[in-house]
């Protein structure tokens, strides 16, 4: 009954007309896509019973493997059909790719496409790339910078970043002393923030000069500004941080089929559709944000990127930045940290 409809719950990108319209025409299908801006919210909706609404869910790397599959919210993919695509991706996605597989390594849980580093963004006219990379998270510990930076509101990502500013590795279990440090750091960081807001607000503020840099962000958030003619806006991955051997954090999106009792046959077709070099390029440059995609390993795909586009996604430093980044993961004591952070934000109120 659902072979002419497809519902996608995703991050900004897949819901753009450029990606969906050709698929709609080709399959004469009703495709609905809703974009949200954080992973837990999407997953909550499945938990709340919307598994009978959605066919595909697109979230960041740890959730499929660590949460959704164990909770029975998603279904595995047919390995024979989909694993071959991983072979054609950039080397880091070599199958069996960890984040696409179940914990026991038996099931393929999703397909990968977009990825990128996501630490902070500076206006290099105000703070040079070198200073930013060297000073790293300490930029926020310098009292002279109070009032000159923004915070991109980005739920759990703000939590990692505050841990990093506090000099603590986010992805381990924390002691009370860690939390004390986290708490004072969160208060300081929010007190000194000029603005907390979304990507458009951050870029607008960077461009107009309200702020010099902002916490949380990377290719994903800086690329539209860069592409719009502001190359001085740049995502930066610090040289070092409290995470051993890494300076920042990166993300990889995984798209999975929902455990929908009446899953649309179009779901898997869509997953294949976006592997097409042209479509992959469109996904990378969907209106809104611009990102590298795993399919760039394919020459046919790569050739579709213009120089401006490559500049926008900081292709020049992508490899080294990914190298320096720890992969996004779920913070074990996230709830406690989030509560502290929310309280800190509130305390900074009235700024």
């Amino acid at each position: 009954a659902r072979d002419k409809e497809l519902n996608i719950l995703c991050w900004e990108g897949y819901n753009s007309a450029d990606v969906l319209d050709p698929f709609r025409s080709a399959h004469d299908a009703t495709v609905k896509a809703e974009s949200l801006t954080n992973d837990p919210t999407m997953i909550n909706r499945l938990r709340a019973g919307e598994t009978n609404v959605w066919d595909l869910i697109n979230v960041n790397n740890p959730w499929a493997r660590k949460v959704m599959y164990p909770e029975g919210l998603i279904k595995p993919l047919d390995r024979a059909t989909f694993e071959p695509y991983f072979d054609k991706m950039l080397p880091m996605f070599k199958p069996p790719y960890k984040w696409a597989m179940s914990d026991d390594g038996k099931e393929l849980l999703g397909m990968c496409q977009r990825f990128g580093p996501y630490s902070f963004v500076v206006n290099t006219k105000k703070v040079s790339r070198k200073t930013a990379e060297d000073q790293g998270w300490d930029l926020w510990n310098d009292p002279a910078n109070a009032g000159k930076y923004g915070i991109l509101e980005s739920d759990d990502w703000n939590v990692f970043d505050i841990f990093l500013i506090a000099g603590i590795n986010p992805f381990v279990t924390h002691s009370d002393a860690d939390f004390e440090k986290f708490d004072t750091t969160a208060k300081k960081v929010f007190k000194g923030a000029k603005v907390v807001g979304d990507i458009a607000t951050m870029n607008q503020a960077l461009i107009s000069g309200e702020i010099n840099f902002h916490m949380t962000g990377g290719t994903y958030s800086a690329s539209p500004a860069r592409f719009d003619g502001y190359p001085e806006i740049r995502g930066v991955t610090p040289l070092k941080s409290a995470i051993p051997g890494k300076g920042g954090v990166s993300w990889i999106e995984v798209t999975s089929t929902v455990a929908n009792p009446q899953l649309s046959p179009l779901a898997t077709q869509f997953l294949e559709y976006v592997q097409d070099p042209k479509v992959a390029h469109t996904v990378a440059f969907a209106e809104g944000t611009f990102n590298p995609v795993a399919q760039m390993a394919n020459k046919k795909c790569f050739e579709l990127f213009t120089k401006e586009e490559l500049d926008a996604i900081q292709w020049d430093s992508l490899d080294e930045e990914m190298e320096r980044s720890a992969e996004y993961d779920i913070v074990p004591d996230y709830d406690r940290a989030l509560d502290l952070m929310t309280a800190a934000k509130r305390e900074a109120s009235g700024g």
Binding site: T201, I207, S208, E210, R346
Partner: protein, 301 residues
């Protein structure tokens, strides 16, 4: 229908008529009441139920608990600040709105004559764009190198200081968004002031100010109260102003509720916060409405 057997003695037409006349009011109210029972009361009860469920659970009342409320009332929890900010903003907005709207309402009710309709219409249009988009328009206006700053810069060579991302701009945004909700009830209230009472007061020696204080203000009070109530409640429930214009300089209570329902993955806590907000708003609304004669306010033309 159920009494058909008992009334067999009367001609059926007469029965139908009598029933219709006796029950026209309750009968006609039924569909609406049904809608509100299913669409308003029941969801509120659902929220109430969730507020007593285990934190971070997604099942309703599997293990009833007061834990969510305990968390909120824990002295270490600072969520009370969000409540206070919201109430304070709402209070400020209402006061500013009352002052800002009064002259316009006065004009609409008493001065503009046949222009009043057109002006009202003009003021209604912007209401129909979702408020986020309109508020973003203000960001474009106030931001550095935006319409105001950039405009001044190009004309006079100097710009303006920081306006965005402050508590003040949040109140500004609320005043902007909710202006019509104060204005229209207030206009209704002012048009209830008989012109003759105003003239009589002047004739009896009252100065302009005395006329305002002794006659216009008290007689238009019902409309002003409705406007104040409406804008207060809307401002308490507002979220976009603090997010879009305020740059989250302040966290308001609805933002806390939203956080709980979204990335904090804690519906029961969010529900408990929502219940507390409902209590504040509901108590206020019911108390005030009890003292208003709606027939008089709405019926007066």
């Amino acid at each position: 229908m159920t009494t058909a057997d008992a009334s067999e003695a009367l001609p059926p037409r007469a029965i139908a008529r009598r029933r219709l006349r006796l029950r026209a009011g309750p009968l006609l109210s039924l569909p609406l009441l049904l809608l509100l029972a299913v669409g308003f009361l029941a969801p509120l009860l659902a929220v109430l139920g969730f507020s007593f469920s285990e934190p971070r659970s997604f099942a309703l009342l599997a293990h009833p608990t007061l834990e969510n409320y305990e968390t909120i009332f824990d002295p270490a929890n600072t969520v009370y600040m969000s409540f206070l900010w919201s109430l304070w903003f709402a209070f400020l907005s209402v006061c500013i709105l009352a002052v800002v709207s009064y002259p316009v309402a006065y004009g609409l009710a008493k001065l503009f004559g046949r222009w009043a309709n057109l002006i009202t219409l003009l003021m209604v249009f912007p209401l129909f764009i979702s408020e986020n988009v309109r508020l973003y328009g203000w960001v474009l206006f106030f931001i550095k190198n935006g319409v105001l700053d950039g405009g001044l810069r190009s004309l006079f060579g100097f710009g303006i200081g920081d306006l965005l991302f402050t508590p003040g701009i949040i109140v500004f945004g609320m005043v902007y968004t909710y202006l019509p909700f104060m204005l229209f009830p207030m206009t209704l209230g002012l048009s209830m002031v008989p012109q003759e009472a105003v003239e009589a007061a002047g004739d009896l020696g009252a100065s302009r100010l005395q006329i305002f204080r002794e006659v216009e203000l008290p007689l238009s009070l019902p409309g002003i109260i409705i406007g104040a109530l409406l804008t207060f409640v809307l401002s308490v429930g507002a979220i976009a102003e603090s997010k879009v214009l305020g740059g989250q300089a302040v966290i308001v209570i609805t933002h806390d509720i939203e956080i709980a329902f979204t990335y904090a993955q804690n519906w029961p806590l969010g529900a408990a916060l929502a219940v507390l907000l409902m209590l504040v708003v509901g108590a206020l609304v019911l108390t005030v409405l009890r003292h208003l004669d709606l027939d008089r306010i709405l019926g007066r033309r």
